[in-house]
């Protein structure tokens, strides 16, 4: 979380890679340290980016239902999770709250919207599900939010980076989607699938469900896309 170490989710804050220049100057090295977001943050920030761009963010409340694979191997004991929910993942909420504001912020400083996360482990193999409640700066009708998400493209798509999914945010219109077992492999695991975009009565904003593959968008796939992004900019 150092100021000169970019934390990058390529479709969200590609421009933060420019911190590498400063990092090299300051640290007097040729290499570069770039970090991957936490898996829950990766899914959340990608779904929030089109909203941030079109409507602005004031507050984000997020309740996650995280897959067992997010805990690594052997990770969660089956005795702890069959027929059960664990409403705690060590340091996860703090990371999500901090990283979301950093990734969706400026190169030089975190955004100042507020974020509150509640993180839960569920008996699902792969795919983090997130219930997201958003207070926007400008009025945001669900259909406009859906449109902004469905049409969203960023540098990785424009540069046609090999690991970039054609559609970073896929919007489903069925009332009972997205579901992790059926949607986690969308875009080879690099897309985030969003559904149930509806008006939120607390924030006069919107709420929605998002799912992303924690092992791909949330881990290895994201790391590869970062490397491809760095290469496209001549950093490696």
């Amino acid at each position: 979380m150092d100021d000169d170490v970019p934390l990058v989710n390529p479709e969200v804050n590609f421009d933060h890679l420019s911190l590498i220049d400063e990092q090299r100057r300051k640290r007097k090295w040729d290499g570069a340290i770039v970090t991957n977001p936490n898996c829950t943050t990766a899914v959340l920030t990608l779904s929030l980016k089109p909203i941030a761009a079109s409507f602005g963010l004031k507050s984000v409340v997020m309740s996650s239902m995280q897959a067992a694979s997010g805990a690594g191997y052997p990770g969660v004991a089956s005795l702890d999770i069959i027929d059960n929910i664990i409403p705690f993942i060590c340091e996860e909420e703090e990371k999500v709250q901090r990283e979301t504001r950093k990734i969706l912020g400026q190169v030089e400083r975190s955004a100042d919207f507020r974020v509150s996360a509640s993180c839960h482990r569920v008996p699902v193999i792969d795919g983090h599900t997130e219930a997201v409640f958003v207070e926007t700066e400008k009025p945001a009708a669900p259909e406009d939010v859906a449109k902004s998400m469905a049409e969203f493209k960023a540098e990785p798509q424009k540069l046609m980076l090999p690991t970039a999914p054609e559609q970073p945010v896929v919007v489903r219109s069925e009332q009972d989607r997205p579901q992790p077992r059926f949607d986690r492999s969308e875009g080879k695991g690099m897309s985030v699938v969003v559904g149930r975009i509806r008006t939120d009565p607390v924030f006069d904003g919107i709420k929605y469900a998002a799912i992303g593959h924690n092992m791909v968008r949330g881990a290895a796939g994201c790391a590869v896309l970062i490397a491809e992004s760095m290469k496209s900019q001549g950093y490696i």
Copy 2:
């Protein structure tokens, strides 16, 4: 949801039973219609009552992880829920939003705090888990909220009604509790178990996890406790 039909969660709004008098007058009958809250609402409102009483409620955001038994039998197909989450339960969010304000309101009218719910079905047999984010009217320190919950008693306890749990809200201090498999039978399924009470950075309020047995507190047990409450007041 008729104005003269009480919707009762006995520890929360025992006084709403007085609507029976009006109902009898208006409808010219001797019987009485009293309704049970929705199972998710029953758990939520019981956990909110001590907060409402001590700190006041301005906004409530709730994300549920609901057990399969809540859908009745045969209910959720195993093919739909093994290794999966379904982020939709028909009419559930509307019910929770409406009923919570009615139960925590005055006899004659619903409370005017705002409620937003997002409801999800998870691969758990019994016990609804709820992530709750609360904006309070007065500042609410987590330890004070915990105290107000742990000490909370209401008419069913004072009247020592047979089905009333000794402690309606049980507060756990472990960082990874409550969990449905281990906590759903607390108070023979009539208690709500709360944990992880912590400061909420969005609302400057608090957030916590709550679990209750959807088949007991959320259904049959609550109905019996309503009957016992009615009997204690001479309505039956």
Copy 3:
């Protein structure tokens, strides 16, 4: 189960298709009725075929652990199968016992080895797992059985039918395989995966674990392969 209606698992009893000729003569029609084996039988008979061919069969005891998708949709209720086993599937054992002898028998009559099945439903989405105990006619060393299975090819492979898997029986040497989640899609779901081939102390025969995809080898995929087989023989 009529005598002139072939019950066909193409790699096992391709020659039974010749019953169509008799069926057409007897029933005076141009069409043909050919039936698909039960999903559990499809997996079992494919794994038994190389043993039958090389060592002969005297007795087969099979205990299945069958996936929820075998019951169709909505099929098994989640309340019945989460954290549970159901040791009964209607008519299944009778079908497996009868069909296995028919498929591994001659065109004109069932084989006379004995078969006993015990069928159980388990909390698995796709893929039937079978524990098989076999009394062979000739001595059968585990390594020889493994070799006969791994090298097994039949008409569908020789004819290079589109749906025929390159290797109908895949033998795994790891001590904890096959496992349904990891092995059910072998050969696009058309292969049966076998492991743990070892000496059986009751029969002085062998025992092993087999897994096959009940929705592919055990249903739609098998039906397509039957159609391709019929076409290759000019029946359609």
Copy 4:
């Protein structure tokens, strides 16, 4: 497995405790080593005992579906067992095969019937399910086997030992029982529940399903009952 160390499942081979006398003589000590059967063996041998007593045993084939708690804590990783079966438990089959013959044998030597086990881990929290196929010495009609099981009592029942279940083997007549989630706590976890007793076409014997609580009958409860048995005989 030493010859002078009794391996005791109290209802099955209470008389093996007399080995303690020999053990003390030989080893010149006052204490005593008595061992608990493996959890799978404990369930199997208790269900077999009435059959052994009334009909004699020639062969036993057993395929287990074992709960995750049998592996201790943390034991089986959730990533390994959700939507999956593991057809291997280290050393388990060898133990079941050896211990079953020892427990159902004479004090001085193991029985000489044959046993073959195939052991599988399934996504169940508690309760081992076993599919058992038995060749008996005398003809055994299912209804007679059921009667012998339902009426079975042994020394722990006659001595009214505190941990002894009133009925060691409970026979269910429903066609889809026993099931681990519903039957594992029978007799406070000390009873074995048996169902689906039917004729076996391979052995001209019988087959059935049995369930027992691996953590009670298969572990702690059995150990306590052994201690109570020893005390009743003056060994401690």
